[in-house]
Symmetry: C2
Subunit: 202 residues, 2 copies
DNA sequence: GAACAATAACCAAGCGCTTGCTTGCTTAAT
DNA sequence: ATTAAGCAAGCAAGCGCTTGGTTATTGTTC
């Protein structure tokens, strides 16, 4: 029974709906602990119906990761659009990343740890999507180094930075004392040696 | 059929053997993707035999995490024993932590993300073990702040630091260009504003 | 514009397999 | 004689996925 046009207000594109529900459940419970029945139920389908849209559970994960990462990438680009100062740019990158990580409901960067459930080919595609995501970060870090605001822009710096941010999903509680803005500030402050103060930073 | 004394070289304590095998598999494949049959096979048992030592698969995870964390804690304490300079202390903490993370074969800190498979009570016990583990870190960070080598020793700093380190297990390759020692140096350098150089840190 | 065919998007039912775990028994050590 | 430590076998539940049918929509032909 397909959706009628009279069912207004309901997402007509059930594929995207499945992707969002799957991403959310995969993040919350993990890939293996999430059953295809969970996903179907989350969008009001019967247990076998998701397989009309996706050939396998793995393909659902793969699509959720890639499309989620690309969406996040686009969000990053539009967020830094027009910003020239590299420090301000980094601040916006960090804030936006933490936003999709802690405030969104798909939170695709967290699914990295679930990629082990996929085969080599799928993992390669995901790695490519992640490379795209990292481009603006690396550019900004190099600009910061050029402006003498960063000691090094070697790859480990970028990776350590992502670690700081991504791991925060393990401990950050939105109802706690720390706001996401403050967290973003703390992360940026750890990276950048403030130019105005010298050795003794209060 | 219990182990004979004549089976020299084989671990007599099969419980610890099970714990190590389970921790390794849980880290590699995740809790849900690891079957109790995998664990049994890894130590040369039949599929039902692990349940003589542990009441459930969850209890295996819980024990692996707590005993792994406490072992890591003891290793930390003995590693910093006799070191007074807080910067050297931090360096050793980071290096030791990365050692158990990237070079050990249990790597218990990585299992944090698998704790969601446990109930509230078990998670509370694990959180307590993690609190113990974090004590020397917080002490060292505060000593660093007192010595004006660190801008802030507020809790987020410690948590961001753990993020940097723990996340490295997602990308670090032991056969790559970067050694664990260099990685430890890079991580410490990101935290500490070098006192000898000022603004332009080359 | 009515009749019909084709298609998209599901549902109902269930198949074969794997899972965590149990039970009853066996054997070596104490 | 008792116990610690395991094996052999298997159960019930849950898993990913398939199959065949059903229905509203869309396109085509007369």
């Amino acid at each position: 029974m397909p959706r009628r046009k009279s069912d207004v207000g309901l997402e007509p594109n059930r594929r995207a709906e499945l992707l969002r529900a799957a991403a959310k459940l995969f993040v919350e419970k993990g890939f293996d602990a999430t059953t295809t029945r969970d996903i179907a139920e989350a969008v009001g389908m019967r247990s076998g119906s998701p397989f009309y849209h996706f050939r396998s559970k793995q393909e659902l994960l793969k699509a959720a990761m890639i499309e989620g990462l690309d969406a996040g990438h686009a969000q990053l680009l539009s967020a830094i659009d027009g910003i020239n100062d590299p420090e301000a740019k980094l601040r916006v990158l960090v804030r936006t990343h933490l936003g999709t990580l802690l405030e969104g409901d798909c939170r695709s960067p967290l699914l990295v740890s679930e990629a082990r459930a996929l085969d080599d080919k799928a993992r390669a595609e995901i790695a490519a999507a992640f490379d795209r995501y990292q481009v603006p970060w690396q550019e900004t870090l190099e600009a910061l180094q050029q402006a003498d605001k960063l000691a090094s822009a070697a790859p480990p710096v970028r990776l350590l930075l992502f670690g700081m941010l991504n791991w925060s999903s393990h401990w950050y509680r939105p109802d706690g004392e720390l706001s996401v803005d403050e967290l973003a500030d703390a992360a940026v402050a750890m990276l950048i040696a403030r130019p105005k103060k010298t050795k003794a930073q209060q």
